[in-house]
Amino acid sequence: MKKVTWSLWGRKFDSPLMLASGTAGFGLELMKMGMLDGVAAVVSKATTLAPRDGNPPPRIVETGFGILNSVGLANPGVEYVVDEILPMAAGLPVPLLVNVAGEAREEFAAVVERLETSPVPMAYEVNVSCPNVAEGGKAFGASPEVVESVSRLVAGVSSRPFSVKLTPNEGDITESASAAEEGGAGAVTVSNTFLGMKLDWRTGRPALLRKVGGYSSPALLPLTVARVHLVSEAVNIPVLASGGVSGPEDVLELLAAGAAMVQVGTWLMRRPGAGSELMKGILDLISPGAE
């Protein structure tokens, strides 16, 4: 039987699955647990220029049909990532994309410039869903002009391909995707957590200290399918799907909607062995009976 492969940036993978940013660390824990089978690539947690403690707890609450997180981009900063974490990540059995976040346009490029000194990352994922603190606090992704400028700044310092991770919360996602392509992005990730909030109606008290957080759930699937479909019609670069995967059919549906690769986030927190579980299901579905 012919082996099925998926490809991204000229590389071939025998799985379409990537582990979504913020839900897999740098892949090191899963590697120790022996649970990276079936995974094509790991996307790291967000890395910023300076270390960030992150938000005060609670950082996660469960809702009726999903979860809200308020991690606040906790990370040890790019210096530590390059000096301490990436050398360990060199031992990963799969490639690593480093997810990059910032509070100003130039910060993304500064982080990438530092990451360029490490041989380890295969690529970057530029998270424009975070607030543009330097220019009023709206997400970078809210404005196509800002998305294009951030992409251009990153492209200017990067020798590696990068995907721009778009926000579903602000702006027109197809316009932002085109702007990323225009700015030199090699892919777009569609998309990210949805702004959400949970409160106790009796007391009015929000469940998260920061009141609002990022909502993710298997229930996001149709929202991601729609966005992947719309974006893949609007751009000529690969689309990486993120949001709502909890089973092999979800992955195949996102691929059918136009995704080149599919990320697994929340489901991985429940099933650290999601890579091999999903992959087995996918192969059973696309080539039944084959082994």
Partner: protein, 253 residues
């Protein structure tokens, strides 16, 4: 190496009103890794919501089996509590770091179901005394220690009062280790009452709202004495009391 496996339920008992003990079959690999203070992540059966697993400390580990003890609080614990013998629960673990099992006599101080992990600890130490606080006899778990002293708020068993009211009678020279688990305010009060010399030897079994349970998602953060946060799931759940920034922890608890 931790494993994700379907574990066969051997017994399900409601040991106290609303407090359930579930005993499951354990494989050799699990038994080898199991240690007092380590925990497991259990999936709620029947559908994909709640999507996150629920963490439980190892309550007892013996005779090829392990058990968890918990209060039925929300949807997740309710679904898990509704299993019967012969069913399976999906279990990931053992996870995290447990107690440093130093020799000498132990003092086990627990508030409410904070004592859930004491029977396993008691089975692995030379000898010890348990001090337990609870609101009433209805929520007082067994610590698995012959010398157990109790304080209840309603006086239904033991002395009427808080676990801290049991501390003045402790002969501190007898003990070289302290295990502490319970509500943050209670633990803070206990630490204050422990004399220097042994205070540095208190090991706290921490709890936090947890995401993955294996170190990736940064959700179960606890304020660290050194600044910032540490991850309950991989730096803990058992940490030296001195590693915690108690005032920040109490604020966010």
């Amino acid at each position: 190496m931790s494993i994700d496996m379907p574990a066969v339920v051997l017994a399900r008992e409601e040991v106290l009103p609303g407090i359930v003990r579930i005993t499951m079959e354990a494989g050799d690999e699990f038994l080898e890794e199991a240690a007092p203070g380590r925990f497991i992540q259990v999936e709620a059966p029947g559908g994909i919501f709640p999507v996150l697993r629920r963490p439980f400390t190892l309550h007892r580990v013996e005779d090829g089996a392990f058990s968890i003890l918990f209060r039925v609080k929300g949807r997740g614990t309710r679904k898990i509590s509704e299993v019967s013998s012969g069913d399976t629960l999906r279990v990931l673990g053992p996870l995290g770091r447990g107690y440093r099992l130093a020799g000498g006599r132990w003092l086990l101080v627990g508030g409410g179901l904070g004592a859930a992990g004491f029977p396993f600890l008691a089975a692995r130490i030379e000898s010890g005394t348990a001090l337990l606080g609870a609101s009433s006899s209805d929520d007082l778990p067994d610590a698995g220690v012959a010398d157990t002293r109790v304080a209840t708020e309603d006086g239904s068993v033991g002395i009427r009062g808080l676990v801290t009211d049991l501390l003045p009678d402790v002969d501190w020279h007898e003990y070289s280790n302290v295990a502490l688990c319970g509500p943050v305010a209670m633990m803070k009060a206990v630490i204050k009452a422990v004399p220097p010399g042994i205070r540095e030897r208190i090991q706290v079994s921490t709890e936090a709202r947890m995401g993955c349970g294996w170190g990736a998602c940064e959700c179960c953060s606890i304020p660290a004495a050194a600044g910032g946060y540490f991850k309950c799931c991989t730096a803990g759940p058992v940490v030296p009391a001195g590693d915690i920034d108690w005032s920040r922890w109490e604020e966010t608890d």
